[in-house]
């Protein structure tokens, strides 16, 4: 029972995702979902693909959600959202529909439904929590797993140095649907993430948000390092934060000081084999990942000039009383 003298009942922000959920310690996806629903507000209906988020928030008979929430299957979050949106439209109601999925349910299994939803221009925000593998079923590789990462189905060994293929450039594929707004965000930059959610909520039409959400268990880092790992992914250029409108790059978060990818890779168990002393392939793959980061920087023009308060160094700085940029 919640009483008025309970500080939890008097929090000065909306909580779409409540405590008591079963996510692991330091879960990036739980944090991302909390931030997204917080920014979206109470007037939403959520649909959720099968995955960690669905499992840890709704162990029967409890739910951590404080907004209407639907789950059906792994592959059809976008399809269900399309149906809910169409039904609301028929009833003349204006609640926003948010479809959610992990990278498995978005990049691979639910991709067809997502593409159809975008093509039909449903007024839905699709949020993909990208933790770069099928974490719920035991860390199998997905289309989103980065090159050279270890998963249970891409183990490093004599034949391979982790995943052989590259991370699918989903954002470009999404943008190619010519939708009004698509963006990438990261849990390490909550101000930026909140702004992008609010921006997407305002758009009448399909919008897409790719949120980089470290998984301590799958990535092999301590739960306390989730933000640090996510921040380094951005600062190295491996996960560029960009906004695309109608397929064109509208804005990017510049990098004031680029960090070498080894600082990001070295924190994570899934890249530990890239630091083997006696294997020449380790060096090659590290250089390969650095080249991929350099490619991102060149492609999106991420190199900042001067001290931009909204670059990867300045965006999340704080002062007494809150974030410096608010």
């Amino acid at each position: 029972m919640t009483e008025m003298n309970d500080p939890r009942a008097r929090q000065p922000r909306f909580r779409g995702l409540e405590a008591g959920h079963r996510a692991c310690q330091g879960c990036g996806e739980a944090l991302a979902a909390r931030l997204v629903t917080e920014s979206a507000g109470p007037d939403v209906i959520l649909t959720n693909a099968t995955g960690c988020l669905e499992v840890f928030t709704t162990p029967w008979p409890q739910s951590a959600w404080r907004v209407p929430w639907l789950h059906s299957l792994f592959e059809n979050s976008a399809a269900i959202a399309s149906g809910v949106e169409a039904a609301l439209k028929a009833q003349g109601r204006r609640s926003k529909v948010i479809a959610m999925g992990g990278d498995g349910g978005t990049f691979d299994i639910g991709f067809q439904a997502l593409s159809g939803m975008l093509e039909r221009m449903h007024n839905v925000l699709y949020v993909c929590y990208d933790n770069e593998a099928y974490m719920n079923t035991g860390i199998q590789r997905s289309g989103s797993t980065p090159h050279a990462a270890r998963t249970t189905t891409s183990p490093p060994g004599k034949e391979r140095m982790g995943k052989r293929h590259l991370k699918k450039d989903l954002l470009s594929i999404i943008a190619a649907h010519h939708i009004p707004y698509a963006a990438s965000a990261s849990v390490a930059y909550p101000q930026d993430l909140r702004r992008k959610v609010r921006r997407a909520m305002e758009v009448d039409g399909p919008t897409f948000l790719l949120v980089h959400s470290p998984c301590p268990l799958g990535w092999g880092h301590d739960g306390s390092e989730t933000i640090q790992v996510a921040r380094l992914a951005v600062q190295t250029g491996l996960f560029p934060l960009v906004e695309l409108e109608r397929g064109e790059v509208a804005s990017v978060m510049p990098l004031r000081h680029r960090v070498p990818v080894t600082e990001y890779l070295g924190l994570q168990g899934r890249f530990r084999h890239l630091f083997a002393d006696d294997d020449h392939r380790a060096r090659e793959e590290r250089e390969h990942l650095q080249a991929l980061a350099d490619y991102n920087v060149e492609r999106y023009g991420l190199d900042g000039d001067g001290d931009d308060p909204f670059d990867a160094d300045g965006a999340d700085t704080v002062r007494r009383g809150g974030p410096a940029s608010s």
Partner: protein, 567 residues
Amino acid sequence: MPTPMNRGAFAQAGSSLAFKTGTWRSAKPVHVHATAPCHGACPAGEDQQAWLALLQEGQLQKAWESLVTANPLPAITGRVCPHPCESACNRGHYDSPIAIHAVERWLGDQAILHNWPYPRLPGSPRSERVAVVGAGPAGLSAAYHLARRHYNVVLMDAMPEAGGLLRSAIPPTRLPRDVIDAEIRRLMSMGIEFRPRTALGRDVTLDELRGEFDAVFLAVGAGKSRHWDVDGAVPADLHEGLALLREWLAVGAIPKPNAVLIHGGGNTAVDLARVMRRAGVRDVHVVTASGLPGPDTDTDDVLNVVPRELEQAIEEGVQFHPHRTINRLIMRGSKVVGVEMVRLKKLPDGNGRKSRVSFEGTETVLHVDMVVPAIGEVVDPTGLTAILAGRDFIDTDMFGTVAGHPGLFAGGDCRSWIKKLTNGTVSAAIGDGRRAAEGIDALLSGRPPAEENRPSLPFAELNLAYYEKSKRVQLPTLPLESRDDSREIEGGPDSAQALAEAARCFSCGNCLACDNCWTLCPDNAVLKTRETCSDGSHYLFDYEYCKGCGLCAAECPCGFISMVDDD
């Protein structure tokens, strides 16, 4: 029973709140209010972080009130203190330390400008009377801290005005006289009774004081120059450095030889060197066993001088000879015509101490026609022979207690060296006065004296990703050609500069109210409160749900959150 589930409403039954994930935890986050390094390094005991935080909130008068809980003379110390706080400032490892002295000085000046009253501690008037002998920084500080605690304080001094060496030994170019006058006048108006022209051993004896008062605090300073000679040789016309400086401050007269050598490495030596240089002495040499600040100089081997004063002295043409001492005076009759110097260093002697080692074969000769020793002073034993018992300084504990003399306390320059406390600066004397007031209050209240003792926050505990780099304030300094004997050389910051400088504070070890823990907890286990919690923050950990991941501790910019084992 079915539960009504309205949109946005709290899901009563069936909410995951019924599941207490706190049971998963093996470590829990706690708020730890560690000492900021500036606070730990301050000889006066100021908590700079606390008053900089109040400035960040725009609470100017509260910031000053917080400052004067330790140091009643910020306008003075902001000008003359060698600011060990800035040397300790964690920001120094990041870009450049906060210009704490500049903000302190500005805040002190604001208090004088607006005549903010010194706050007293809650409590009722005390009947006990305390005598404070000597109205220098230590005496003024003790009198103030006793008055704050509602004691009847009688402050006495041999001179006609209060101030001690602030007036007699610090040039107005560093400390304008109107600043001393204003700050001391305001302090005295707390109801402190001042008896001028009252010298111990001449006008009053220690026994009389101890009979009349419930406690006596001796802050008589060190008024007698330490004996100086070189292998027994002393020039016939020897002048001591502090005596020369006092004479110049009192009557404006200074000897003008062609070349002078000042022997010593403290503020007296450097102040005197600058006065003589400005008076027209061509060659002013300062010979010191200490080193100039630099990457190769140990921190305990650097000249004990305000760093910016040293820079200005070099600008003005004073020549420094670091790591050297005088081997021999070259005399013609009883007059000095030169000195032989030799290089030396203070090196570990194998017994855990440092001793001076001079290096044979490094002797050089300097032609000067005057040598002025400024190697320090000892306590003038007049009226104190029973206490001193032949020693140079008075032995006390950290609260100033003089063993074997109940009710007698001492502090400031007349106290002997104590481990972990510094000596010989205005701030150290102010700290002595504050602790002695605590010692006296404890004695008269029948309780043990207490001093705050919190762990210090190391630089590595900060999360620097959340701090923007920013430049330290540039303070106006009189150009060389405009410097004379009366105008203050370094100016203060304006209000915008002072507040901008305060905004640079990392808030080491204290909550910055930045919301990071509240924003980044994946489990909604950090709750924000409107009221301030007992630990000074606005956040509560909800241990029913906290899984102990440690994200909040890692992402707290200022090291306010620590993870501890949870049994």
